[in-house]
C-alpha cells in the first residue's frame, strides 16, 4: 500500500512536469524546428531577450501585475479589517460583491469591463470635449483598465485570505492592546497588521500571479496595452518559434527563484520566531 501510494505520487509529479520539461528542453534546441532536437544552443534565449516586443510585453506584464496586486492588497486588507464593524447592510453588499468577483468567470468579467469602460469613457470624453474644448484629453482602454480589471479579482482574493486569518486570530491580543490604552491606529500598526502579514503577503502573491498569468481578461480589456500572454498567444497564431519556449523557460526560472527566495525568507523568519518563543 505504501509503495503504491508513493508510486502514485511519483506518477503525478511526472504528469505535472513532463510538459514543462518539454518546453525547457526545446528552448535549448539549436534547430529552427520545434519538432526535432538537433543540438544545444542558447540562441533562442538571446533572441527572446533582445526582441524589443517581448521585453516590452514582459515589462508591461510586470507593471500591471505589481500595480493591480498592490491595489488589491490595500483595498482587500482595509476591507477585511473594516467589514466586521461595518453596518450590516454595507457588509452584506460587500460580501455579495466579493463573492460575485470570485464566481463570475474571467471572460464575462472581461467582457463587461470592456463594454463598461468603452461606454463610460466615450461619455466622459464627450463631456470633456464639451466643457474644455481646447483639451486633447481622451480616455480609453489601456494599462489602467487592465489594472482595474485585474484588481477586481485580486481584491476579492486578498479580502478572503485576510478575513480567514482574522477569524482564526486570537482577538484577545487586540483587546489587550486596546485595554492598555493603545490608540486604535497604533493597535492596527503594531499588533493587527504584523499578525496579518502572512495572509496579506500570500494575497499579494496570489493576486500578482493571477494578473501576470491572465490571458482572457486582458484579451478583452487591454486596449493597446500588451502583456506577455497576449503577445505569446498572438505569436503562436502565426507559427511557433523556439523563442516562445525560451521565453517561457526564462519565466519558469524566475518563478522558481522567487519561490525559493520566499521560502528561505519564510523559513528563516519561522525559525527565528520559535527561538524567541513568539507564536
Amino acid at each position: 500500500m505504501d509503495r503504491l501510494l508513493r508510486g502514485y505520487g511519483a506518477a503525478v509529479y511526472l504528469f505535472l512536469f513532463v510538459p514543462i520539461a518539454v518546453v525547457v528542453v526545446f528552448s535549448f534546441n539549436a534547430g529552427e524546428h520545434v519538432a526535432e532536437l538537433t543540438g544545444f544552443s542558447l540562441r533562442w534565449y538571446v533572441e527572446a531577450w533582445t526582441n524589443p516586443f517581448i521585453v516590452e510585453a514582459f515589462r508591461t506584464s510586470i507593471t500591471v501585475a505589481l500595480t493591480s496586486a498592490t491595489i488589491s492588497m490595500f483595498l482587500g486588507t482595509a476591507a477585511a479589517l473594516a467589514m466586521p464593524s461595518a453596518p450590516r447592510r454595507l457588509r452584506r453588499t460587500f460580501d455579495v460583491m466579493v463573492n460575485t468577483a470570485l464566481v463570475v468567470p474571467g471572460i464575462v468579467l472581461g467582457i463587461s469591463l470592456l463594454i463598461f469602460i468603452v461606454t463610460a469613457t466615450n461619455w466622459l470624453n464627450s463631456w470633456i470635449a464639451y466643457l474644455v474644448p481646447s483639451s486633447d484629453l481622451r480616455l480609453g482602454l489601456g494599462f489602467a483598465s487592465l489594472v482595474a480589471a485585474h484588481s477586481v479579482f485580486g481584491t476579492a482574493l486578498v479580502t478572503i485570505l485576510v478575513r480567514t486569518r482574522l477569524a482564526s486570530m486570537d482577538l484577545r491580543v487586540i483587546e489587550a492592546s486596546a485595554d492598555l490604552y493603545a490608540p486604535p491606529l497604533r493597535t492596527v500598526c503594531t499588533v493587527t497588521l504584523p499578525l496579518l502579514a502572512p495572509a496579506i503577503f500570500a494575497g499579494f502573491l496570489l493576486a500578482f500571479t493571477f494578473s501576470f498569468d491572465d490571458f482572457i481578461i486582458a484579451f478583452f480589456t487591454r486596449g493597446r496595452a500588451e502583456t506577455l500572454p497576449i503577445y505569446l498567444f498572438a505569436s503562436i497564431r502565426r507559427g511557433v518559434s523556439p523563442v516562445v519556449n525560451a521565453t517561457a523557460s526564462s519565466l519558469l526560472a524566475m518563478t522558481v527563484t522567487c519561490l525559493a527566495v520566499a521560502a528561505v525568507v519564510f523559513w528563516r523568519r519561522g525559525s527565528n520566531r520559535t527561538e524567541k518563543g513568539i507564536p
Partner: protein, 278 residues
C-alpha cells in the same frame, strides 16, 4: 474606527464590478449595428436567440463537470500521499505541486499540443507497438486532460490542508477500536476532509466554466465552450448585444449551479458552509 476603511473597496467594486455588470445587462437589450458593435434598444430579441448557443452551454457544463470530477479523483490520492507520507519534506513536495501553476497557462497548455500531437504520445504508442492511429489531440479527452493538468494544484491544495489538519490520534483511535484501514478511511478521513473537497471542487469548477484557451488549443475548434462562443461573438461576429446576452445568461447559469452546489454540499457535510470559498 475601521468603518470607513472599507469604503475604497466598496467604491472600487461599485465602479468596476457592479456598474459593468449593469451596463452588460443594458447592452444585452440592444441591437447589433450593421457594421458590428452596439445600437441602443430595448428588446429581448437577443435572449430569444440564446438557443443557438445551446451546444456551447451543454459542452461547457458537461466537460466542466467531467473535468472537475476527474481532477478530484486524481488530486485526492495525491493530497493524501502528501499529507500522510510527506514527512519532513512535506512543504517542499507541496511547493513542487504548485510550481507548474506559476508558469504560464498558455505555455503549459501549448506543451500538450506537442505531446498529444502525432509526433508525441501517439508516435510513442506506435513505436512500442501498442496502438496504431490513436488520435488524442482535438478530442474531448484532450480538453479534459488540459483541465485536469491546469487545475490540479487548485484541487490538491485545499484537500491537502484539510487532510493535514486531521489529528493522527483520531485515526489511531479508530484503528485501536478495531476498524480496518478501509473503514477508518471511509468513516474518519474522508468525512473530515470534506471541507477541502468542497472548496477544491468550487475552486476548479468555476474557472473551468469560463475556459477559453484550453478548448482553443487542445480542442482544435472541435470542442466549443461558452468562452469560445463569447470570444467569437466579440472578435469574429462583432455582435456585442448578443454577446452581452450570452454573458448574462452565463452568469445566471454559474449562480444557479453554485447555488445548487452549496445546498448539496451543506447537506452532505453540514457545518462547512461558513468556510466559504476557501
Amino acid at each position: 474606527m475601521y468603518r470607513v476603511m472599507g469604503a475604497p473597496a466598496v467604491v472600487w467594486y461599485l465602479l468596476f464590478l457592479a456598474a459593468p455588470l449593469i451596463v452588460l445587462l443594458v447592452v444585452s437589450l440592444g441591437r447589433r449595428s450593421p457594421n458590428g458593435g452596439y445600437q441602443p434598444g430595448l428588446t429581448l430579441e437577443q435572449y430569444g436567440q440564446l438557443g443557438t448557443r445551446w451546444t456551447a452551454f451543454a459542452n461547457t457544463v458537461e466537460l466542466g463537470l467531467v473535468g472537475t470530477v476527474v481532477c478530484l479523483m486524481v488530486a485526492y490520492p495525491m493530497a493524501y500521499v502528501l499529507a500522510t507520507r510527506g514527512g519532513r519534506y512535506k512543504t517542499i513536495l507541496l511547493a513542487l505541486v504548485v510550481v507548474p501553476f506559476w508558469t504560464s497557462l498558455l505555455i503549459r497548455t501549448y506543451a500538450w499540443v506537442f505531446l498529444l500531437g502525432n509526433s508525441g504520445i501517439p508516435a510513442l504508442l506506435r513505436d512500442l507497438g501498442i496502438a496504431e492511429g490513436v488520435r488524442l489531440l482535438n478530442t474531448p479527452f484532450a480538453v479534459v486532460l488540459g483541465i485536469v493538468y491546469n487545475y490540479l494544484p487548485l484541487m490538491i491544495l485545499p484537500i491537502f490542508v484539510s487532510l493535514d489538519r486531521i489529528d493522527q490520534g483520531i485515526r489511531q483511535a479508530s484503528k485501536d477500536l478495531g476498524a480496518g484501514p478501509a473503514r477508518t478511511f471511509l468513516r474518519i478521513t474522508l468525512p473530515l476532509s470534506a471541507p477541502g473537497i468542497i472548496s477544491g471542487v468550487l475552486l476548479v469548477f468555476v474557472p473551468v466554466l469560463g475556459e477559453y484557451l484550453i478548448p482553443v488549443l487542445l480542442g482544435g475548434g472541435q470542442i466549443y465552450f461558452l468562452g469560445n462562443a463569447l470570444a467569437d461573438l466579440f472578435f469574429q461576429s462583432r455582435n456585442w448585444p448578443f454577446g452581452a446576452a450570452v454573458a448574462t445568461a452565463f452568469i445566471a447559469l454559474v449562480m444557479v449551479l453554485i447555488g445548487f452546489y452549496r445546498k448539496a454540499a451543506s447537506r452532505l457535510a453540514p457545518g462547512t458552509e461558513q468556510e466559504g470559498m476557501l
